[in-house]
Amino acid sequence: MSEFGFLPSFPLPSSAVLLFGTLMLAGLVGGWAVERFLSLPRIAGYVITGLVLGPGGVSLLDPGTLHDARIFMDIALGLVLYDLGHRIRLRWLVRERWLLVTGVSEGFAAFAAIFAVLLFIGEAPLPAAMAATIGMASSPAVVLVVARDLRAEGQVTERALNLVAINSGLAVLVFTLLISYAHLEQDAGWAVAAAHPAYLLLGSALLGLAMGLLGIALARWIGKREDAQLILVLALIAVTTGLARQLNLSVILALLALGVFSRNLDRRHAMLPVELGHAFQFFVAVLFVLTGASLRLDALLPTAMGVGLYVLARLVAKMTVIGTLSRLSGLSFRQGVLLGLSQLPMAGTAIVLVESTASFYPEFGIRLAGMVFAAVALLEILGPVATQVAFKLAGEAGGAREQ
C-alpha cells in the first residue's frame, strides 16, 4: 500500500479551484447551448445548468459544495454591485428627478401589490410584508449582464440600470426596517429594534464611503495607470465584500455605496473608469450557475397559484408605474413600457434573504419561503429574456456579437 502512496486516495479531497473550473465549464456549455438552440440569453442557460446540476436536479452540486463556492458568488456579486453603483451619477439623478421618483414609486408599488395579493391568499401581515419587500428589487446581476452582453446603450438601458440600483437599495432599507419591527413583535425592546437597522444601514454606507475614499486617495497616489487601477478596484471590491460579511453588514448596500461614492466624490477624477469586462466573464458564469443550483422548483407546483399571483402583481405594478411616470422624464410611452419590462428579473440574493429570515423568524413559514423561492426561480429564467427583449425592442442592443 505504502509504495503506491503517490496515488490519490479516494474519495478525492474537495478542491475549490476544481469546483470553480468545473462550474465555468458547465456554465460555458449550458450557456452556449441555450443561446444557440433556444436563442435565449446566456445567463438563462447558466441558471438552467445550475438547476440541472443542483439539489433540485442530478444533485452534483450538493448544499455542502454550494457552501464552499460561496466565495465565488460573493466576488461576482461584488463586481456587479460595484459596477452598478459606479454607473450612478448623483448629479443626473438630482437633475432628472422624475427618474428617482419613478424608482422609489415602482418599488413601493410592487411592494403594495404583492402585499395585497399575499394577504388576499391568507398570509399573515408581517411575513407577507417581508415577502413583498423581496419583490421590490429587480436583479442587478441580470440587468447589468444582459446590458453588457448586448452592449446595449440608450435611455432604456441607462435608466434600467439606475432603477435597479434604486430599487435594490430601497428593498434592503425596507427589509431592514421590517426586521426591526419583527424584533418589536418578539418583545426584543426598543434598543435592539432601533439599533439593528441603524447598525446595518449606517454601517454599510459608512463602510462603502470609507473604502471609496481610500480608493480615491490611492488612485491619486498611483496616478492614471489603467493596469494598476484595475487591481485597485478589484481589491476594493474584495475587501469591502469581505468586511461587510465579517461585520454582519449588508453586502448589497456596502458595494453599491462603494461604487456610488468612489465615482461621485472623486472631484478631481483621480479614478479611471476601468473596464471590468474580463473579470466579469470569469465570475458571472459561476454566479448564475450557483444561483441556479440554489433554486428549487419543487415548491413551484404546490404553490403555483400563489406564485403566479405574486409574479403577476409585481409585473403589473412595476410596468404600470414605470410606464406612466417615464413620460414625465421625457421617454416615449413605448420606451417606458420596455423600461418596465426590463425590471422583471428578481434578485437571486432574495434566496439568501429568505433563508436568513426563515432562520431568524420561524413564522415566515415554509409555504411562503417556498413561494418566494419559486418566484425567484421562475424569474431567473424568464427575467433575462424579458430584459433582453426590452433592450432589443428599444433598439438599444449593439451589433458587436452579431451572427
Binding site: 459606479h86 454607473r87 451619477r89 443626473w92 437633475r95 432628472e96 452592449r151 446603450e153 440608450g154 435611455q155 441607462e158 496616478g223 492614471k224 477624477h269 479611471l272 473608469p273 473596464e275 422624464s329 421625457g330 416615449s332 433598439g395 438599444e396 449593439g398 451589433g399 458587436a400
Partner: protein
C-alpha cells in the same frame, strides 16, 4: 435615366452669405466614450422650435447641426450658440455630453452603429469598414455665389488656402487611443474614399457639368453627394462648400472660420480675374499634408511665387491683408482672434495635447472637451 442626364443648375444665391454644418460627438458621462444617443437626443430637440436644423448622421453617436443662411459672423454665432444650448439641455436630461473635435480620441471604429436610414445603410454596404471608420467629425462651410462660373472660380481660388483651414480647425491629434503626431488625423480617414481629394480641373460651370455628366454616364456617381472633395460646388444651395475643417472645439472658432472663408471669398472674387491654372494643384496634396501633419509649423509652397514659408506666417499675412474686407462684414474681431491663435500656435490639437498632459487620460480629455464645448469650462475651474 432621363433624370440622370439632366444638367445641374446652379441656384443663384446672394454672394458671400454663410451657412455652416457641424458634426458633433455624443459621449456618455461615465467613461466619455462615444455613445448611441442620437435617436433620443433628436427626439428631445425635435420637440422644440429653433432656427437651423439638428439632424442625424451616419452613426448613432453623431449629430449634425446646420444653420440657416447668415450675412454676418455675429448672427451666425448667435444661432449656433442657441442651438448649442438646446443640445446641451437635451444631453443633460439624457445623462450624455456633446463635444467638438475632429475625432474621438479613443473610440473603436468597429463598435460604431450605423443609423437606420436607407442612405446610411447603402453607404455602409458600399464602403464596408470605411463607413464605420469614417466616424470623424467635420465642419462644412458654405459661401454663397452668384452663379456657377463664379463658384468654380472661387473654388480654385480658395484651394490655395485649404491648408489654412486645416491648421486653424485642427482638433484630431488622437485617434483610436493614440497620439497620431498629426494636427489633423481626421483627413487621413477621408483619403481612402475613391472620390476624395480635390475636384478635377475645370474652368467653368459648363465644363463642370460635362465632367459630372460623364461620371454619371460611367455609372460612378449618382449625385453631387458622392463627391467627398475638400471643396465642392453645391448647386442646389448656390454655394461653394468647404469640407476640410475638423469640427473645432468651440462654436466661436467655427464661426470664426466661416468669417475667414467669407472675407477670403470676397477678396478672391474682387480681384481682377485671371484664368485659374492647373499647375496650382501640383502642390496641393503636399501643402495639405504639411498642414495636417505639422499644423502651424507646416510648410506651404506657393506655385506662383515659388516661395516656401510656414503656414503660420502665411496665415498671419493673409489675415492682415483681409482687414478691410473683415471690417466690411463686421468680423474684424473674429479674424483678430484667429491671428492671435496663429501668433501663439494655438489650435484645437494643441489644446487637446495640453489637456492630455495635464489630466493624464483620454477619458479626462473628452470630459474637458465636452465642458469646453458647452461653455462651462471657465465657470467650473
Amino acid at each position: 435615366m432621363t433624370e440622370a442626364t439632366e444638367r445641374l443648375v446652379f441656384k443663384r444665391s446672394e454672394p458671400f452669405r454663410l451657412g455652416v454644418e457641424i458634426e458633433l460627438q455624443i459621449v456618455n458621462t461615465r467613461d466619455y466614450n462615444l455613445s448611441r444617443g442620437a435617436p433620443d437626443l433628436l427626439r428631445l430637440t425635435g420637440k422644440q422650435r429653433h432656427a437651423g436644423e439638428i439632424k442625424p448622421e451616419i452613426t448613432e453617436s453623431m449629430v449634425e447641426m446646420a444653420t440657416s443662411i447668415h450675412s454676418s459672423h455675429d448672427s451666425l454665432l448667435r444661432e449656433l450658440l442657441e442651438m448649442r444650448d438646446l443640445l446641451v439641455r437635451g444631453a443633460d436630461r439624457l445623462n450624455l455630453a456633446i463635444c467638438g473635435g475632429g475625432s474621438h480620441p479613443f473610440q473603436k471604429w468597429s463598435e460604431q452603429r450605423i443609423f437606420a436610414r436607407p442612405r446610411f445603410a447603402h453607404l455602409s454596404d458600399l464602403y464596408g469598414y470605411l463607413a464605420k471608420q469614417f466616424t470623424v467629425f467635420g465642419q462644412h462651410i458654405h459661401v454663397g455665389c452668384g452663379n456657377g462660373d463664379d463658384a468654380i472660380h472661387l473654388l480654385h481660388g480658395l484651394s490655395r488656402y485649404i491648408p489654412h483651414f486645416i491648421v486653424l480647425s485642427a482638433s484630431s491629434p488622437f485617434f483610436q487611443g493614440h497620439d497620431t503626431s498629426f494636427a489633423s488625423s481626421r483627413l487621413n480617414a477621408i483619403a481612402a474614399f475613391p472620390l476624395s481629394g480635390y475636384m478635377p480641373f475645370v474652368s467653368s460651370w459648363d465644363e463642370f457639368n460635362d465632367y459630372f455628366r460623364t461620371m454619371q454616364d460611367l455609372g460612378i456617381v449618382e449625385s453631387m453627394k458622392d463627391f467627398y472633395w475638400d471643396i465642392r460646388p453645391k448647386p442646389e444651395f448656390g454655394s461653394v462648400e468647404m469640407r476640410v475643417c475638423d469640427t473645432p472645439l468651440t462654436l466661436e472658432q467655427a464661426a470664426g472660420l466661416a468669417a475667414y472663408a467669407q472675407a477670403l471669398a470676397r477678396s478672391i472674387l474682387a480681384e481682377p480675374r485671371t484664368a485659374a491654372r492647373p499647375d496650382s494643384y501640383f502642390v496641393y496634396t503636399y501643402n495639405r499634408f504639411q498642414a495636417c501633419r505639422f499644423g502651424f509649423d507646416g510648410l506651404l509652397v506657393d506655385p506662383q511665387t515659388r516661395q516656401h514659408r510656414t503656414l503660420r506666417e502665411d496665415i498671419l499675412e493673409t489675415l492682415a491683408s483681409l482687414e478691410a474686407k473683415a471690417a466690411e462684414f463686421g468680423s474684424s474681431q473674429a479674424l483678430g482672434a484667429l491671428a492671435r491663435q496663429a501668433e501663439s500656435r494655438q489650435n484645437g490639437s494643441a489644446w487637446l495635447r495640453d489637456a492630455m498632459a495635464r489630466a493624464g487620460s483620454l477619458h479626462d480629455v473628452v470630459r474637458l472637451q465636452a465642458e469646453l464645448w458647452a461653455g462651462r469650462l471657465e465657470s467650473d475651474e
